[in-house]
C-alpha cells in the first residue's frame, strides 16, 4: 500500500497545484517540478498518466500544467519526449472514441507547449496544416471538417503569436484556407439552433463564424492577447534553455461511418459592455478575451457540475476576475448552456441549483445580475425559440419557489395590454401555473397584483363533464358511486356496466365489448371523482380497476374517448392529467399513439399552445424510446449469454438444452424488438403527419385569405415541430428514410420542409 499512497499523493499534488495557496503560483510550480523530477525514476509512468489526464480533464488550468511540463522538460529532455508521445497516443484514442471535446483540449495543450519550449513551432504548424487539409476531403460530413477547423482556430488565442513569429507565411496560408472553407460551408442548420430569431440587440452567431471573427480581430491586433494567465512567462529564462521536441507527423484519422462529430452550436449572447455599467468593461463579442473567458467558464462547469458548491466557488474564483465583470460572464454562460439547442450539456435542474449557490456566495451582487438577465430575457420573448421559452419557464418558476416567489410583477404589466396568446402574457401565465404546482392556488393569487388576475391559473379542482349538477346524479352515477365505494367486485361492476346503453348501437351487444362512450363517461368520471383527493388515490383506483379500464378501452376509439373524458374532468389540473396519462401508458391501458392522436385531436385544439400538452407528448415519446432500449438491451444480454454458452459447449455436452432455450428466447426477443421499433416508428409517423396536416391547413388558409402566416399559433406550431426533431434527434435518425419518402417530400409547403432540411443539416 505504500506505492498506492505515494501515487495518491502525486495525484493530489498535481491536481491541486494552482489552487488558492499562501505561496505564489510560480513557487508552487517550481516546487512541484522539483518533487516530480525526483520521483521520475520510480513513478515515471504514473506521472505521465496523471499529466495526460489533467491535460484532458482540467482544460481550465491548461497553462498551469503546460508550464509544469515545460519545467520538467527543461530538467529532463527524455521525459518531455515521452510526454509528447503519450499525448499523441491519447489524442488518437480520444478521436477513435468520439471524445471530440477532450481531443480539443489535448490539441490546445500541445499548442501551448510551444509557448513552453517543449514543442517546436514548425511541427505544430505542420499538425495544423494536416488538420486543415481535412477541408479538402470529399464526401465527408461537414461536421467533420468543421471540427478540424475549430480545433486549429481555438488554439490560436494561446499560440497564435508564437506561431506567427516563427512561421507567418505558412500561418497566413492556413488562415486563408480556413477562410475559403468557412465561405463555402453550408449553414442551413443555423436557424434551428438560434435562441432568438431576431438579430437585435445581439446576433446569434454560428460558433465557427464567431470564432473566425474573433481570430481575425486578434490577428489585426498583432496577436496581442492579454487575458490568458501565462505562468511560463515568469520562467522564460529557464524554459528557453530547454531543447524542443518535434511533434511526429500526425495524420487525422479517416472518416468512419459510426463517427459522432460534435453538433454545430450558436453562440449565446445576452450582455454587452453597456449592461455592466460599473466596474471593469465587458470584452466585446468579437474579442478573443470573450472567447477565452467563456471557454474557461464552460470548462469549469464541465469539471464540477456534480458538486454545486465547488462549482460555484470555482466559477467565482476565476483567475483574472478583477479585470472583467465576472458575474455577468457567469450568468451569460450558464444561461447559454441552459438554452443550448438541441439540448443543454447537463440536466436542466443543475443550472437552477448552481445559480442559487452563486446567489448564496455573492448575495450583494449576483442576484441583481440575475434579475437584470431575467428582465432582458422577458423583453425579448417575442422572438425567443419556444423550446427555450419552456426552459425559461421551468427555471424561473423553480428559482422563484426558492425565494418566496418575490418578484416585481408590476414591471411586467405591459403583458396585460396585448392578446393573451402573445409570448409575454403566455410566459407569465405558464410561470404562474408552474409556481402554483410548487405551492398552492391561493399563494399565487396572493403574490401577483390584482391586475394580473387573467393570468392566474385555474383552481386545480375536479369538474364533472356534465355542467348540470343534477345530470351528474343520474341513477347510473349513483349506482356506480355506491358500487365502487362499497367495494363491489369487478364482476359486479361489470354487471352494472352492462346495463349502460350504447348510444352508438341499436341492438344490445351481448358481450358488451364494443366501444361504448357512455360506459366510459360514467365509469371513469365516477372513479376519478372518488379518487380525486391525491395522485396516490387516483393511482390506486386505476390499479384496482385496471381490468375494467382495459376492457372499456380495448379499441382505438375507446382509448381516445378515455383520454377525452380524463381531460374533461381534470382540465383545471394539467399536472393530474399528465400523471394519469403516464400511468395509463405504463399499465398499457392506452398506447403511445393513442395519446399522440388525442393531443392532436380537434377536442384538444384549444389547448394546443399550452406547455402541459407538449410535456405530455415528449414524456410519451421518451417512454416509447426507453421501452425500445430496454428490450434491445435484453436482446443483447441474451445474445452475450448464448455466446458464452457456445464456448462452454465444447467443454460440457449437457449444455445443448440451455443453448436451445437461449436461442428460442433470442428469437422471441428479436420479435419483441421489431414490434417495439415498429410501434416507435409509427408513433413518430403519427406525430409528424398530424403536424403536417395542421400546419398545412393554416398555411393554405392564410395564403387564400392573403393573411400573414406568422400568428402566435403558427410560431408555436412550427417551433413545436422543430422541438420534436431536436429533442429526439438520436431516435429519429433511424427513420430518416421513411420520413423522407412518406412525409417530408418535395410537395410539402416549403415552410414545413425547411424544418426537416435544417434538421438534416445538423449532422451533415
Amino acid at each position: 500500500s505504500e506505492p498506492i499512497e505515494i501515487e495518491d499523493r502525486l495525484e493530489s499534488l498535481i491536481c491541486r497545484v494552482g489552487e488558492k495557496s499562501t505561496s505564489s503560483l510560480e513557487s508552487n510550480l517550481e516546487g512541484l517540478a522539483g518533487v516530480l523530477e525526483a520521483d521520475l525514476p520510480n513513478y515515471k509512468s504514473k506521472i505521465l498518466r496523471i499529466l495526460c489526464a489533467v491535460a484532458r480533464l482540467l482544460p481550465e488550468k491548461l497553462t498551469v500544467y503546460t508550464t509544469l511540463v515545460g519545467l520538467l522538460n527543461a530538467r529532463n529532455y527524455n521525459f518531455g519526449g515521452e510526454f509528447v508521445e503519450a499525448m499523441i497516443r491519447q489524442l488518437k484514442e480520444t478521436l477513435k472514441n468520439n471524445l471530440y471535446s477532450e481531443a480539443v483540449y489535448l490539441v490546445r495543450f500541445l499548442s501551448d507547449l510551444v509557448n513552453c519550449h517543449v514543442i517546436a513551432a514548425p511541427s505544430m504548424v505542420a499538425m495544423f496544416e494536416n488538420f486543415v487539409s481535412v477541408t479538402q476531403e470529399e464526401d465527408v460530413p461537414q461536421v467533420r471538417s468543421d471540427w478540424f477547423v475549430y480545433v486549429v482556430l481555438s488554439c490560436l488565442p494561446w499560440v497564435g503569436k508564437e506561431l506567427y513569429e516563427k512561421k507567418d507565411v505558412e500561418m497566413d496560408r492556413l488562415l486563408s484556407q480556413i477562410e475559403g472553407y468557412l465561405k463555402r460551408r453550408v449553414k442551413t442548420h443555423v436557424p434551428m439552433l438560434q435562441v432568438w430569431t431576431a438579430d437585435k440587440p445581439h446576433p446569434q452567431e454560428e460558433y465557427l463564424d464567431c470564432l473566425w471573427a474573433q481570430i481575425q480581430k486578434l490577428k489585426k491586433d498583432r496577436w496581442q492577447e492579454r487575458h490568458i494567465l501565462r505562468p511560463y512567462i515568469a520562467f522564460d529564462s529557464v524554459l528557453c534553455e530547454a531543447l524542443q521536441h518535434n511533434l511526429p507527423p500526425f495524420t487525422p484519422p479517416g472518416h468512419m461511418p459510426d463517427a459522432q462529430y460534435p453538433m454545430p452550436r450558436v453562440i449565446f449572447r445576452v450582455f454587452d459592455y453597456t449592461d455592466a455599467p460599473e466596474g471593469p468593461v465587458m470584452p466585446g463579442s468579437h474579442s478573443v478575451e470573450r472567447f477565452v473567458i467563456e471557454e474557461n467558464l464552460h470548462c469549469i462547469i464541465k469539471t464540477h457540475w456534480k458538486e454545486r458548491k465547488t462549482c460555484a466557488a470555482q466559477l467565482l474564483s476565476y483567475p483574472g476576475k478583477n479585470k472583467i465583470p465576472l458575474n455577468y460572464h457567469i450568468v451569460e454562460v450558464i444561461f447559454g448552456e441552459l438554452f443550448q439547442l438541441p439540448s443543454p450539456p447537463h440536466i436542466d435542474v443543475m443550472y437552477t441549483t448552481l445559480l442559487i449557490e452563486l446567489c448564496k456566495l455573492q448575495p450583494g451582487s449576483l442576484p441583481q445580475v440575475l434579475a437584470q438577465a431575467t428582465e432582458m430575457l422577458y423583453m425579448r420573448l417575442d422572438t425567443m425559440n419556444t423550446t427555450c421559452i419552456d426552459r425559461l419557464i421551468n427555471w424561473f418558476s423553480h428559482h422563484l419557489s426558492n425565494f418566496q416567489f418575490r418578484w416585481s410583477w408590476d414591471d411586467w404589466s405591459d403583458c396585460l395590454t396585448v392578446d393573451l396568446e402573445k409570448p409575454k402574457p403566455k410566459f407569465v401565465k405558464e410561470v404562474l401555473e408552474k409556481c402554483m404546482r410548487l405551492s398552492y392556488h391561493q399563494r399565487i393569487v396572493d403574490i401577483v397584483p390584482p391586475t394580473f388576475s387573467a393570468l392566474i391559473p385555474a383552481d386545480p379542482i375536479f369538474t364533472y363533464k356534465y355542467p348540470d349538477e343534477s345530470a351528474c346524479k343520474t341513477a347510473r352515477h349513483f349506482v356506480f358511486f355506491n358500487a365502487i365505494k362499497n367495494r363491489a367486485s369487478n364482476e359486479e361492476i361489470l354487471t352494472v356496466l352492462k346495463e349502460v346503453p350504447n348510444p352508438n348501437q341499436e341492438d344490445d351487444d351481448d358481450e358488451g365489448e364494443s366501444f361504448n362512450p357512455l360506459k366510459i363517461d360514467v365509469f371513469l368520471q365516477t372513479l376519478l371523482n372518488l379518487a380525486a383527493k391525491s395522485f396516490s388515490h387516483s393511482f390506486s383506483a386505476l390499479g384496482k380497476f385496471h381490468e375494467i379500464l382495459k376492457t372499456l378501452a380495448n379499441s382505438d376509439e375507446g382509448k381516445l374517448h378515455l383520454l377525452k373524458v380524463l381531460y374533461e374532468v381534470w382540465r383545471n389540473h394539467p399536472q393530474m392529467i399528465a400523471v394519469l396519462v403516464d400511468k395509463l401508458i405504463r399499465t398499457q391501458v392506452v398506447d403511445c399513439a393513442a395519446v399522440a392522436n388525442w393531443l392532436f385531436s380537434q377536442d384538444m385544439a384549444h389547448e394546443f399552445t399550452r406547455l402541459f400538452i407538449w410535456e405530455i407528448l415528449h414524456s410519451t415519446i421518451r417512454k416509447m424510446n426507453k421501452h425500445v432500449q430496454k428490450i434491445q438491451k435484453e436482446l443483447e444480454e441474451a445474445k452475450d449469454k448464448l455466446e458464452k454458452q457456445q464456448h462452454k459447449r465444447d467443454m460440457d455436452k449437457n449444455s445443448e438444452d440451455e443453448e436451445g432455450q437461449l436461442e428460442e428466447q433470442i428469437e422471441r426477443l428479436q420479435e419483441k424488438v421489431e414490434s417495439a421499433q415498429s410501434e416507435q416508428k409509427n408513433l413518430f409517423l403519427v406525430i409528424f403527419q398530424r403536424f403536417i396536416m395542421l400546419l398545412t391547413e393554416h398555411l393554405v388558409r392564410c395564403e387564400t385569405g392573403s393573411v400573414d402566416i406568422s400568428t402566435p399559433w403558427y410560431k408555436n406550431g412550427i417551433e413545436r415541430l422543430q422541438q420534436i426533431f431536436l429533442m429526439h434527434h438520436a431516435t429519429i435518425q433511424q427513420y430518416m428514410g421513411t420520413l423522407e419518402n412518406l412525409l417530408f417530400t418535395a410537395e410539402l409547403d416549403h415552410h414545413i420542409l425547411a424544418v426537416y432540411q435544417q434538421f438534416c443539416a445538423l449532422q451533415l
Partner: protein
C-alpha cells in the same frame, strides 16, 4: 489511457450518510449495499401541509418519479413531515441528491437521503406521540410542523394559563 483521477471524481452529494435505519431487518453490510443501489430517497423537513403533488412536481425535475409515499402520524394518520420518493432509475435519484437536496419545497429547506427501500410500515412516524422522533424533542416553535415539539408542548399549557 482513459485514466480516471480519484481527485477529480468527487461526487460527494450522492454519498450515503451516517444514518442507518435501526428497524432495518438485516446487518449493517446488507443495509449499506441496498443504500448504494437504491432508487428510493427519504425526504425530510417537509411541512405537514406539503402535498404529494408538490413533492411530485419538484422531484420530477431530476427524472420520472415511480411513486411517492407520504409519511404519516402513526396515530392520527395525517402527514407528519417526511416522505419517500422512488425513481425508476438510480441515475435520476442521484440527480435529486445532487440538485434537489438542500433546496426549498414549500418555503422549507428539505433534506434527502438514500433509503434502503420502502416496506409496509415504514410510512409511519416512530415518535412516541405518533409523529417523527425529531418532533418529540425539539424545543423550537415550527408552525408547519405542529408548533412546539411534543415534549415541550406538555409544559406549555401551564404557561399559557398563567399568562391570563
Amino acid at each position: 489511457m482513459s485514466v480516471k483521477l480519484n481527485a477529480l471524481n468527487s461526487d460527494s452529494y450522492i454519498d450515503i450518510s451516517q444514518y442507518r435505519d435501526q428497524h432495518f431487518k438485516g446487518n449493517r453490510y446488507d443495509q449499506e449495499k441496498l443504500l448504494k443501489q437504491s432508487n428510493t430517497l427519504y425526504v425530510g423537513n417537509l411541512s405537514f401541509y406539503t402535498t404529494e403533488e408538490q413533492v411530485h412536481e419538484l422531484f420530477s425535475k431530476s427524472g420520472d418519479v415511480k411513486r411517492i409515499i407520504i409519511g404519516l402520524d402513526k396515530i392520527k394518520k395525517t402527514a407528519c413531515g417526511f416522505c419517500f420518493v422512488e425513481y425508476y432509475t438510480r441515475g435520476d435519484a442521484e440527480h435529486a441528491m445532487r440538485f434537489i437536496n438542500g433546496t426549498r419545497l414549500d418555503d422549507r429547506i428539505i433534506r434527502t437521503d438514500w433509503d434502503a427501500g420502502f416496506k409496509e410500515g415504514r410510512q409511519f412516524g416512530r415518535g412516541k406521540s405518533g409523529g417523527q422522533v425529531r418532533d418529540e424533542y425539539r424545543q423550537d416553535y415550527d408552525p408547519a410542523r405542529g408548533g412546539y415539539g411534543k415534549l415541550a408542548q406538555q409544559h406549555r399549557p401551564t404557561e399559557v394559563r398563567n399568562s391570563f
